[in-house]
């Protein structure tokens, strides 16, 4: 049995999404910007996809949802163009973000720091969430942008986005949110949240890889990141990824339709898995179930290094994730784990399990069995865990 529990990294493309995309490779392959029939025959599907995307996040027709290659591009675009438009050419020089943003935001802010911009990284509590009072205190008349994620990729913790949006609106500060981990898991409404910019990526909600979007509120100027042509009304050049856009639209529609299913069924399976794993002694999960997106568990298993745990799970057909430094190419520890700081060992012992609407009960049962076995085996090897009685008898 192969069980995929790494849906915060990427998701399976919904076969219904794939079916919608197929005609746009070998049949309707024209460039939509061409005037001839080969180009224009993809227009109905593109318009339908845009309708699906606008409806999915409750954007108004006067707002823009610009198609990008992924949320990393969207995040880079907002942060670097705010630098060009508002910081370089104005009197503002301050950006506020959190310590637990995705590197697409975090590293972009670090880059701007190297150019002389002041960046405030708001700390998080032991649940991995910022305190809105800290945000209020951090905003000054020099603040050009607040960029806070909607939900965290490692912990699944949901941030108080509506509250943050209201604060930013009141203080006249632009607000960007990286909603990659929220769309398809919880309702995302750009009007309620008063966001000016919102990034998302199709492959996190059962769409294809290589396509994403940036929501830009009506009236917000943002100089282009990609110059070159007339595509996307001149906001983002590059020949449209027609199949990708069609797929993303369908994926958005299906994801929004499935929100109730997420809240009930995915949540039930996630909770079943979580409750079962918390039966294992000396484990803890970051954040309460209610404050998290319904699919995510970040669990620390004392005495087991994250990469070793992933190894055992992989040997048994389970794909999961860890923030452990030993599992990163550069041996760098995960800043989210460090920011949460929970009992220090989280940075080495964290296991992230993320479900999707395609996860079955049988898969969850199998995962519970495999993880229990892995814990028994690896704790027996571990020098920092002393409670694996049957292994502790000398075999001499």
């Amino acid at each position: 049995m192969r069980v995929y529990l790494d849906n915060n990294a990427t998701t399976i493309v919904d076969p219904k999404v794939f079916a919608e995309m197929v005609p746009y490779f070998c049949q309707m392959y024209g460039n939509p910007n061409s005037l001839h029939q080969f180009g224009s025959e993809s227009h109905p599907a593109l318009r339908a996809a845009m309708d699906q995307l606008y409806a999915g996040i409750n954007a108004s027709d006067d707002d823009d949802i610009v198609i990008t290659s992924c949320a990393t591009e969207s995040n880079n675009w907002v942060i670097k163009s705010i630098y060009n438009d508002t910081i370089l050419n104005g009197d503002k020089n301050h950006i506020i973000t959190s310590e637990v943003e995705h590197p697409a935001v975090g590293a972009s802010c670090k880059f701007l720091e190297s150019l002389g911009v002041n960046v405030t990284y708001l700390p998080v509590n032991s649940d991995g969430v910022i305190n809105v009072e800290d945000l209020k205190n951090a905003i000054t008349d020099k603040t050009a942008l607040v960029s806070i994620m909607w939900a965290n990729n490692e912990t699944g913790m949901i941030f108080p986005i509506e509250e943050i949006g209201a604060i930013c609106k009141e203080r006249g500060v632009l607000f960007h949110t990286d909603a990659v981990q929220a769309i398809g898991k919880i309702p995302v409404d750009v009007q309620k949240a008063h966001v000016d910019f919102l990034s998302f990526s199709a492959h996190k909600f059962h769409g294809p890889k290589g396509v994403g979007g940036l929501y830009i509120r009506n009236g917000q100027t943002l100089s282009p990141f990609f110059h070159g042509g007339e595509h996307m009304g001149g906001r983002r050049s590059g020949t449209l990824n027609v199949a990708g856009i069609v797929g993303m639209g369908k994926a958005m529609e299906l994801a929004v339709e499935a929100l109730d299913f997420e809240k009930s069924n995915v949540r039930r399976l996630r909770d079943k898995l979580e409750d079962a794993l918390l039966q294992i002694p000396e484990t803890f999960v970051v954040g309460t179930k209610e404050q998290r997106v319904p699919n995510t568990i970040l669990i620390s298993v004392k005495g087991i290094e994250g990469e070793a745990m992933l190894w055992d799970l992989n040997q048994n057909g389970i794909g999961a994730s860890t923030g452990s430094a030993c599992a990163s190419e550069a041996l760098e520890s995960n800043p989210v784990m460090e920011a949460i700081g929970a009992e220090a060992d989280l940075a080495h012992t964290a296991l992230r399990l993320s479900l999707s609407r395609f996860t079955t009960e049988a898969e969850v049962d199998f995962a519970i069995e495999v993880i229990n076995k892995a814990v028994l085996r690896l704790r027996a090897i571990s020098s920092t865990y002393a409670y694996a009685p049957e292994w502790h008898v000398s075999k001499l």
Binding site: A308, S324, S333, H348, I381
Partner: protein, 329 residues
């Protein structure tokens, strides 16, 4: 960079089959007890290295024959990633049958080599080389405990890069001999810093006492100091073995002033003039620009920008360096 570094996520694909097998079924995992030691007629030694909060921790158990100091049995326990477990297992295996003094000589490189499937293909990717270091450190801790000495006494040199086992002395020597100016060059010459990169600069995987950036800076400073000392000594001894172009600005000034005093000033003074040196600047192309001001009768003299100037320049070029340029202000 290059083709093979553009697609990530391949760490596990670079583990040797031996590493994978040991990770799945470590042979020497477990504990040894006082009772085991008694049954085997030896002394129990238990040593720890690392901590969970560091991401790696290993415990080594030995039963040592006190008369011969032969390690009769070795077991380990390890908190760490797959390669840390495989390395610890291999380390324990390598200890068995050796004397304590022999075991202390086992290095992380021996451990890594023992895990190779074929002699010339590394058992682990570069960033995982670090995992075998702990195996080496815990042996020293065990030997120190057995012999009742400090673990540092087994190390007769300061190791800067533990992954590649490169000493401080080697790194400084390589910098000096090859006139190295970048950390990348040090890595190319010695392999120091090629693996976990902790020793390259502060802020890496692990905190270090010595970093390559600091060693490079300090060694370059020492080299510069030595160079200046050599110049100064050469001048004290009266024979200038050092090329004018390599002198410091102060020394250049002194030498130019001396030549002017001896060969040029007397002629100018005879005509009721003089000159002073205003500044000396060194260009990238080794040219030394000497800014001068004419005094007395020389200032305003028609020859001061032609014949006299060429004469001054050619004397200095002949006596000191052809790279001298005179610029009257």
């Amino acid at each position: 960079m290059g083709k093979n570094s553009l697609i990530g996520g391949s760490i596990w694909e670079e583990y040797s089959q031996k590493v994978q097998d040991l990770m799945n079924n470590p042979k020497n995992m477990g504990e040894l007890t006082e009772e085991d030691a008694k049954n085997m007629g030896g002394k129990l030694v238990v040593a720890d290295f690392g901590a969970e909060s560091c991401g790696d921790a290993v415990r080594l158990y030995w039963v040592v024959d006190e008369a011969t100091e032969v390690i009769k049995a070795a077991k380990f326990k390890s908190f760490g990633c797959g390669t840390a477990i495989a390395s610890s297992d291999t380390m324990a295996e390598l200890c068995i049958g050796k004397t304590v003094s022999e075991a202390v000589k086992i290095t992380n490189i021996d451990v890594e080599k023992a895990m190779r499937d074929t002699p010339d293909i590394p058992a682990v990717p570069p960033q995982k080389m670090h995992c075998s270091v702990m195996a080496y450190d815990v042996i020293k801790a065990a030997a120190a405990s057995f012999k009742g000495v400090d673990a540092a006494s087994f190390e007769d040199e300061i190791i800067v890069c533990e992954c590649a086992r490169v000493s401080l002395g080697t790194i400084k020597e390589v910098i000096r001999l090859n006139n190295l100016t970048t950390v990348e060059e040090i890595t190319n010459y010695t392999k120091a810093g090629a693996f976990c990169k902790s020793c390259v600069k502060p802020g890496g995987h692990e905190e270090k006492e010595y970093y390559l950036v600091d060693i490079l800076r300090d060694t370059r400073a020492e080299m510069e100091h030595d160079r200046l000392l050599a110049i100064s000594n050469a001048q004290i001894e009266g024979h200038s073995s050092v090329d004018f172009d390599d002198l410091t600005v102060v020394k250049k000034f002194q030498q130019i002033e001396a030549v002017i005093d001896e060969n040029i000033r007397p002629m100018l003074v005879m005509d009721g003039g003089n000159l002073e040196i205003l500044d000396i600047k060194e260009g990238d192309d080794k040219v030394t620009d000497v800014y001068i001001r004419y005094l007395g009768a020389c200032s305003g003299c028609a020859s001061s920008s032609t014949g006299t100037l060429f004469a001054i320049e050619s004397v200095l070029q002949e006596k000191l360096s052809k790279n001298i340029r005179i610029l009257p202000i």
